[in-house]
């Protein structure tokens, strides 16, 4: 993947400096972002240096101090924004019960329902292009957590991640299933191919997962986000599969979603009960952060869904 297109003063100078590291880093650090879009695409690219990187950027820049400094400054602002949007505390009572109830009571717009009943083929393909920013690196932001957890939670998380990563079979890896579906739909299956099309809501969804995964202090939020993601996946995945069948989309793409109906019916239980549950047994102080991560997952998806549904209704 090449560096994405700049979206403002900050991203333009950062991407240019990443491609030509002889540029003055102090000029980069003095540059202010134009808007949220500019902030989020910059942050997305800075995080990407820790995943697969860019063909036109030296791998050594992953730990360039000025880029880390910039990332810290942007993600501090982003984290504060996410915390300001979320309730300060989660509900009391049995964790699993409270967690499932919070997610069930969260009433947001549903892209899955729209795909099931109303979307046309072009709209579904647009959705797939935007979902590909995450699905082609599915579970990777969660993988950052593994060495940062106590043993009981580490084992519980790996039980889920092993399934996500195909149980050792690369052709069954979820990101690979999605790539094959994209290819069958005539879309580009390469990692990061459609990032220039991603609206700020998609970048925020992706950046929140990297923020939580890459900062050990946010491990509670990361696992709460994971659990909310899994709890809201199984039933919506069936709706999307039904919508795709209605539009005669390729079986390979439908198969990705039907796989998630059953896989995530398991994963939602594991993520809430054995993963978050075991961490809370050892670190009960992380409970509010788990609800913060869960709210962030649901709220960012609401924002994305509202944007898409408004655009499609127009």
């Amino acid at each position: 993947m090449l560096t994405p297109k700049g979206r403002g003063s900050l991203s333009e100078i950062v991407f240019e400096s990443m491609r030509r590291p002889s540029t003055s880093w102090s000029a980069v650090l003095r540059t202010l972002p134009d808007d949220d879009d500019d902030v989020q695409i910059t942050l997305w690219a800075l995080y990407e240096l820790h995943y697969r990187g860019f063909e036109d950027v030296d791998d050594a820049l992953e730990w360039q101090p000025q880029l880390i400094e910039l990332r810290r400054s942007l993600e501090a602002g982003f984290e504060q924004e996410l915390r300001d949007r979320a309730p300060a505390h989660g509900p009391d009572g049995d964790f699993a019960d409270a967690f499932f109830t919070v997610v069930a009571d969260h009433d947001g717009p549903s892209l899955a329902r729209y795909v099931q009943r109303d979307a046309n083929r072009e709209q579904v393909l647009e959705l797939l292009r935007l979902r590909s920013i995450y699905h082609l690196k599915e579970s990777d932001p969660t993988a950052w957590l593994v060495p940062r957890l106590p043993n009981s939670t580490k084992a519980a998380l790996m039980e889920l991640q092993f399934d996500e990563y195909g149980c050792g079979d690369p052709s069954a890896l979820h990101a690979e299933l999605f790539a094959r579906g994209m290819d069958a739909c005539g879309l580009r299956p390469e990692y990061g191919a459609y990032v220039d099309d991603a609206p700020v809501e998609v970048l925020e969804e992706n950046n929140a997962m990297s923020l939580f995964g890459l900062n050990r202090r946010l491990r509670g939020a990361a696992l709460g986000h994971l659990a909310a993601f899994e709890v809201t996946s199984s039933v919506p995945s069936r709706r999307i599969a039904q919508g795709m069948a209605r539009l005669s989309l390729p079986d390979a793409m439908i198969g990705y979603y039907t796989e998630h109906v059953e896989a995530d019916a398991v994963h939602e239980q594991l993520s809430v009960r054995t993963i978050c549950g075991s961490l809370l047994d050892q670190e009960p102080g992380l409970r509010d952060d788990m609800f913060f991560g869960a709210f962030t997952c649901l709220d960012l998806e609401d924002r994305f869904a509202r944007r898409m549904l408004e655009a499609w209704a127009a």
Partner: protein
Amino acid sequence: MTSAEHPDVIVCPGGPLLLRGDHLVQDAEGQVHRTTRPVSAICRCGKSAAQPWCDGTHKSIPRQQRP
């Protein structure tokens, strides 16, 4: 290996039964299915469209009627 912290079977209140490892599961019609993932979720509410596996449907039935 089975231990108190890692049981083979977990009953989820209001939800499915989690089954660790490789098993053959016979559904209500007598058909036998092999598990395909490290942990499988067996439907307990009877409403799943993917029998014998859970598909999350229990969440759409009233709380007091869930298993």
